[in-house]
């Protein structure tokens, strides 16, 4: 105690005791206040039976879904918001930044600006949108999230008159997709496959193509320390399923999910594989990883943009099952219900669906192919995609034979979560 300690009317111990009393009293008051509301009251209204049915039986290619409408689309006569800032919420490195500037220029007489906010994975993106931490005008979810977003009334229906470019420019299957019949809420952004990317300077093309099951190359201890797989719950477990011949990558069968999980743990044990998101487009380009699970767009982006200067793009190779029976997917663009500039958001969607803009986005920067009817996939090689990556071109027929990673019911989702936790815990 300091020299003046004695001047206090009570000892330090008493002083501390009294402070502690006050410290305890404050939060209990908060708790008593909070107790006035029932738990779960913030989750909104209870879903109706139609909505519960939609969530329990999510869309599949053979079970197309028409999503319920809770409001009308904005009228086509809605004026463009003057001086607005269009809030775009997207994956990082997934849209050519120059297009934002071009959009601003095209709408300069309205004084609009574009602001980009990014998420690291789609679970985070959707969670932040749902909790209101972000209020974007345009969002880029994949089909597995659409139903949940719609029944939670987080999306607004699209005014088709304001988006003529979809019907003019895009594959017919995306004008009436199985996950959103009549495209009430979504327009397509890009399409991709999930295959295997590899460094051809270390692994010859013949090696992977002569294997009876080329997925097994990711389990090959010869490439110990040089293997990367996606740090993505559903993609990684889908690899475990499809390698074992299970085409239904949305299975709810616990024994199959368990088998996939065990096989992924074996992969990590055999090759010390790293779970990454940028393992292909950044680190394979830098020769850190030699073989990895890869989205087609990632390896194309690596070739277009990320290889060090002077390295020829043909060091990169990509394998996808020739029968088209691998994992496929697409991303969409939607307008959240809370959008502050819905008319401008419609303009942006139509702008991104413009033939030239979509093409420039794909070929200059992004590497992810848009499903444009004007693109003849076979002509992309070698103009855009180097010959060694010819299998990274997404063909329309893949959408007949490939496996879509899609939404699952909450109880099945919990099984995937448990398997994922086990993989991530390094068991």
């Amino acid at each position: 105690m300091g020299p003046n300690g004695g001047a206090r009317p009570f000892s330090r111990r008493e002083f501390l005791r009294r402070s502690a009393g006050a410290a305890v009293a404050l939060p209990s008051a908060a708790a008593i206040l909070a107790a006035c509301t029932k738990p779960g009251a913030t989750s909104g209204t209870k879903p109706s039976s139609v909505e519960e049915d939609l969530l329990a039986h999510p869309a599949r290619p053979d079970h197309p879904v028409t999503l319920p409408l809770y409001q009308d689309p904005i009228p086509a006569s809605t004026p463009i918001e003057e001086g607005a800032t269009l809030q775009v919420y997207n994956w990082a490195d997934y849209l050519w930044p120059r297009l934002f500037r071009e959009f601003e220029d095209a709408y300069s007489k309205y004084g609009v600006k574009v602001n980009l906010t990014t998420f690291n994975d789609i679970d985070e993106g959707v969670a932040k949108l749902a909790s209101g931490q972000v209020t974007p005008d345009v969002f880029f979810p994949d089909p597995s999230q659409i139903t949940k977003l719609v029944v939670s009334k987080l999306l607004q229906p699209l005014q088709h008159d304001l988006i003529p470019n979809l019907e003019a420019n895009y594959w017919p299957e995306f004008q009436n997709p199985f996950y959103d019949q009549g495209w009430h809420y979504t327009v397509p952004y890009t399409i991709y496959t999930t295959g295997i990317a590899y460094r051809r300077d270390h692994i010859p093309d013949e090696k992977i193509r002569s294997m009876s099951n080329p997925y097994e190359i990711l389990w090959d201890p010869e490439y110990k320390g040089r293997v990367t797989v996606y740090d993505d719950r559903r993609e990684l477990l889908a690899l475990g399923l499809i390698k074992n011949g299970i085409k239904d990558v949305n299975t709810g069968d616990p024994s199959l999910i368990n088998m996939a999980k065990d096989d992924i743990l074996k992969l990590i044990d055999a090759t010390n594989a790293q779970l990454t998101i940028n393992g292909v487009y950044v680190k394979m380009a830098e020769d850190v990883f030699w073989v990895g699970q890869s989205w087609s767009g990632d390896v194309v982006a690596a070739a277009l943009y990320y290889l060090p200067k002077g390295v020829s793009p043909d060091v990169l190779g990509y394998w996808y099952p020739s029968d088209g029976g691998g994992v496929i997917g697409n991303d969409t663009m939607v307008i959240p219900a809370s959008a502050k500039s819905p008319r401008l958001a419609h303009e942006f969607l139509n702008f991104m669906l413009d033939k030239t803009n979509a093409w420039n986005n794909f070929t200059n920067w992004n590497g992810y192919q848009p499903p444009l009817t004007s693109i003849d996939p076979t002509s992309l090689v070698p103009k855009v995609v180097p010959p060694s990556l010819s299998e990274a071109v997404v063909l329309p027929k893949y959408f007949d034979t490939g496996s879509f990673i899609l939404g699952v019911s909450p109880s099945v989702d919990a099984l995937y979560n448990q398997a994922w936790d086990e993989i991530k815990a390094g068991a």
Binding site: M1, G6, P9, L26, E124, N272, Q274, D421, A425, G426
Partner: protein, 326 residues
């Protein structure tokens, strides 16, 4: 706190204490007359509010999340009324440590190995450095102190990214190791090696060990060491019998300061290890990032706190004992 009122020290101190107490009584009487009762307690208000807002309240929210529920998107819905709390996630999480399929256990075991090993390495290297700076750096002491603090000028994240580059298969460290024929082929340091993660932890936390040790060692009265030597002790014996016992409290403080945050560290392993070197902090991180993982993350946080209370109580106990002795 040495209690002046209840346990007067013997001898000369006795008189001093008595005088002081007498003054305290008169001062106390005067202050009661001048100030209202709430005057002095109100000085604690900032600290009390700080404690309540930044510790007690968030701690209660962790409980509310751990025993709460989630919405359709997996966002946690905290439940603030203890009578509605559900313990199912908590017990389920415990099962993952101690149940039949205890797949969290390896991460717990790794944490209980990595952290003590890394803390001890921090101590060994940190002690040597602090000892040198305190005792032998002469007039360059200021320079050494600046050098010790300088890593804080660059974000830990940036520095670990630099290590990633250095440790890559074709990075500088492997090039040197191969060039001097210490190893035949490059070592892949980043493929989930416990050694890399432990050294990463040491690298990240060692300044927090050196600074308190330096503070203590620097204040040891040189006369005590001279006395030791005068009484015939060798330099080694002086160190063991004088310096080391005097720095016991500093060692304990340094160990606590580095070990506690290491237990919650997840980014060192994220950047330098893999899932195979996942630690307790990575379990929490994965839970936070998984949809619906909020309650589980809350449960893990509570379990980690229980784990950390043990060394903390030991530290408090031993400092109190040291104060009673001193």
């Amino acid at each position: 706190m040495r209690s002046e009122v209840t346990a007067p020290a013997p001898g000369r101190g006795d008189q001093r204490v008595t005088r002081k107490r007498a003054r305290a009584v008169t001062d106390g009487a005067r202050s009661r007359a001048l100030y209202p009762r709430w005057y002095w307690p109100s000085f604690a208000a900032p600290a009390t509010v700080w404690l309540a807002v930044l510790f007690v309240l968030p701690f209660f929210v962790v409980f509310a999340v751990a025993f709460g529920t989630t919405d359709l998107f997996g966002n946690p819905l905290p439940v603030y009324q203890p009578w509605y709390w559900s313990t199912s996630t908590f017990t389920g999480t415990l099962q993952r440590f101690f149940g039949a399929d205890a797949f969290y256990r390896p991460a717990l075991v790794r944490t209980l190995v990595f952290v003590p090993v890394a803390s001890l390495l921090c101590l060994v290297f940190g002690y040597a450095i602090a000892y040198y700076v305190a005792r032998h750096s002469g007039r360059r002491k200021g320079l050494f102190l600046v050098l010790l603090i300088s890593p804080f000028w660059i974000s830990y994240l940036m520095r670990v990214y630099a290590w990633q580059g250095l440790l890559q298969p074709d990075g500088l460290i492997n090039k040197v190791l191969v060039a001097v024929h210490l190893v035949g082929t490059p070592i892949n340091w980043l493929e989930g090696k416990p050694l890399t993660v432990i050294l990463g932890l040491v690298y990240g936390y060692i300044p927090y060990m050196i600074l308190p040790l330096f503070g203590f060692l620097d204040r040891i009265d040189p006369n005590l060491l001279e006395a030791g030597r005068d009484l015939g002790a060798s330099p080694a014996k002086t160190f063991l019998r004088v310096t080391l016992p005097l720095s016991r409290q500093a060692i304990l403080a340094g160990m606590i300061i580095v070990a506690l945050p290491m237990f919650g560290d997840y980014y060192t392993n994220d950047l330098l290890g893999s899932t195979r070197t996942a630690m307790f902090g990575n379990l929490i991180d994965t839970a936070v990032e998984s949809p619906g993982g909020g309650p589980q993350a809350g449960s893990l946080v509570l379990m980690l706190m229980v784990l950390l209370i043990v060394p903390l109580l030991y530290y408090l106990h031993s400092t109190r004992k040291a104060q009673e002795v001193g």
